[in-house]
Amino acid sequence: MPAHRPAFPPSSPCRRPAPRGRWRAAIGAALLGLAAAAPAAAQAPLPTIALDARLRDDAGIRLGDTIAIAATPDGPARRMVVAAFARRTADPSEVARAEYKVRLHLADLQALLAYGDRVDRFAVVTRDSGATDRVVAGINARAFGFRAHRSRDIAVETGRTFAVINRFHRAIGVITILASAIFLLCIMLLRVEERRREVATLRLIGLSRRTVVRAILVEATAIAVLGAALGTGLGWAVSQVVNRYYQGLYRTPLVFSLVTGEVVALAVALSAGLGVGAGWLAARRVVGRPPLALLGR
């Protein structure tokens, strides 16, 4: 993975340092159009290429078409046959990137770019996760001019963009929770105060403060739990809409919003907790006043 690769804003007129992966630039600059398939008999078979599925949709290219591809806009082109279309992966770092991705056989790309017998990186699959550390250490001990990294360490490093987005979402979440807490407290207060005459009557006929608070709490809990359940359902529905919308907008299979058990548990705990807490506060406030005062005397 190239160093110093900012993921945002992607592909805007803002600059970023040119990455070592030259093949991206080559593809982005160099699709020159279609060429009719030449009679095959007199020629060696053309190399094959897998194109971005979006190219099929946007440029109308089909399987078996022959295209000309070059490293630079004015450089020499090579003809290749479209053998496959590849969908984008659910890679968050690619979401907002507009450039098309293509896949060539390594040797073909090396030849196209006059790269020689060079690569940018190797990916290594180990037998099991336990072997990974040994492999990394072993390679680095023998490496001359390159280093091995665990994929997860690179993910952390290149995931800074999403760490920022996570923090942003969390901040928005905190503000929303604060607003909800105040809203709930206000509503519960209104509800309980609206029934202060009933509360006064109950107190006057001999029910204790504790009994009245408990009765109010039961109501508040029922409302809070029902609200939490409804909100969870609504959140799930909105999550579906969000995913469908953004998957269509960015043409990616990436899942943008995920409702997990943990998320549901947190949401329910928070909303029900806040609702019950607000109900308790409101109840304490109203039973704290003398019954006759509640009746306006």
Binding site: A3, P6, S12, R24, G28, L185
Partner: protein
């Protein structure tokens, strides 16, 4: 007297009123932030692009400036042709590349910009002077990465082979200035040098090539018209006005705009619900008083006015508080988003414009007014005699 009655009604239940105002304040703060977010990036990006007054950008055909490694050849002819176009005042070509400097056993990679000092629009000098041949201006991050200061010499080159630990070419350059680079992240090591110097590296592969050019128009020239003329005259390049670039960037940050719209709508709905609930309960509690006022001869529409005024007062009070709160939270949220790697330092997500405050307050006023309408209509319609009777029994 209606206003006095409205204020007195609100003051009767201070805790409740204070809570409602607080709730509306938080909702309106969020609303203001979302209004700022919805247009902030666009505004900030436009301002960035217009820094130094360059309204049009040229890049290799089919690419966006510096979005790829693509360069365009015969640059001198291209730039000359661009300069000859009517309406063009200045053309600032630039070339982007990576250079490597030896540091200890390894090497440090820096982004290099080749520019023409007299017309460049890529950086502002903070210290020192512009670079002449064999010199360079560095960003603070580059100085830190290279372990150098202004006045030092650093060797930069290409063709670094990490296995052989050798450079194909290496040339010493003197650091003569510190620059604040507009279009690159503050934490990115960047150096700027004369365009000809950078074109001479990489064994001539970059000779007479540029990555992009920025164009400043003559006073009165219309950007779209000049862009069309340039596009017709220079078929090897893509031509982008600031408006085009902003529109393209807009697509990329659609997520934030959508988020702003959704959260803004939710905030408005919350504020509306709060006011409507409060006014409904308030009216229910005062149904007897309202019946008496109607019995005394107060017209129904005056009752409506009073209740709507109360709702409006809550919204306005909460909204004004929320403005201040919103500016504080906007700074906080902007600081979070400013951590995006590679984000140019001048890009902001939350940009305050007085118009935004007006929009947020306007929306709140409308919501507050509407929120009071249903409960007030109910209040105005109650049967007077029956209500008085019920209130007497109660």
């Amino acid at each position: 007297m209606r206003v006095a009655l409205a204020v007195a009604s609100l003051a009767r239940h201070r805790t409740r009123t204070a809570l409602a105002v607080a709730g509306i304040a938080v909702a309106s703060a969020m609303l203001l932030d979302m209004v700022m977010l919805s247009s902030g990036m666009r505004l900030s990006f436009r301002e960035l692009l217009d820094t130094r007054g360059y309204q049009v950008r040229l890049s290799p055909k089919g690419t966006l400036p510096f979005a790829t490694e693509a360069t365009v050849g015969d640059a001198a002819a291209l730039v000359a042709a661009a300069r000859a176009q009517p309406g063009v005042a200045v053309v600032a070509p630039n070339l982007g590349a990576q250079l490597v400097a030896p540091r200890g056993d390894g090497a440090v990679t820096v982004a290099a910009l080749g520019v023409e000092a007299g017309v460049q629009g890529d950086y502002a000098l903070r210290e020192g002077r512009d670079a002449a041949a064999g010199e360079l201006v560095a960003s603070p991050a580059a100085l830190a990465a290279l372990g150098r200061r202004v006045g030092d010499t650093v060797s930069l080159g290409t063709g670094w082979d990490p296995q052989l630990r050798a450079f194909r070419e290496l040339a010493p350059r003197r650091i003569v200035g510190v620059g604040r680079f507009y279009f690159l992240g503050a934490d990115q090591p960047v150096v700027a040098m004369p365009l000809a110097d950078l074109q001479a590296t990489a064994d001539g592969a970059r000779r007479d090539r540029i990555s992009s050019a920025m164009v400043r128009l003559a006073p009165g020239a219309e950007p779209a018209a000049v862009a069309r003329a340039l596009a017709a005259a220079l078929p090897r390049v893509s031509v982008l006005t600031t408006a085009d670039a902003v529109a393209q960037a807009d697509e990329r940050v659609a997520y934030f705009r959508n988020l702003a719209f959704i959260l803004g709508s939710v905030s408005l709905a919350v504020g509306f619900l709060l006011v409507t609930t409060l006014m409904t309960v308030s009216v229910n509690e005062r149904i007897g008083e309202i019946a008496v006022q109607r019995a005394l001869g107060v017209q129904a529409r005056r009752i409506v006015q009073q209740v709507v005024a109360e709702g409006l007062a809550l919204s306005v009070a909460g909204g004004l508080l929320g403005l201040g709160l919103g500016l504080v939270t906007a700074r906080y949220l902007d600081a979070i988003l400013g951590d995006f790697p590679g984000l140019p330092p001048d890009i902001a997500f939350f940009v305050f414009q007085p118009r935004d405050a007006g929009t947020a307050m306007g929306l709140l006023v409308v919501a507050g007014t509407l929120a009071g309408i249903l409960p007030s209509w109910r209040a105005a319609r109650l049967p007077i005699a029956a209500t008085l009777r019920e209130e007497a029994v109660a």
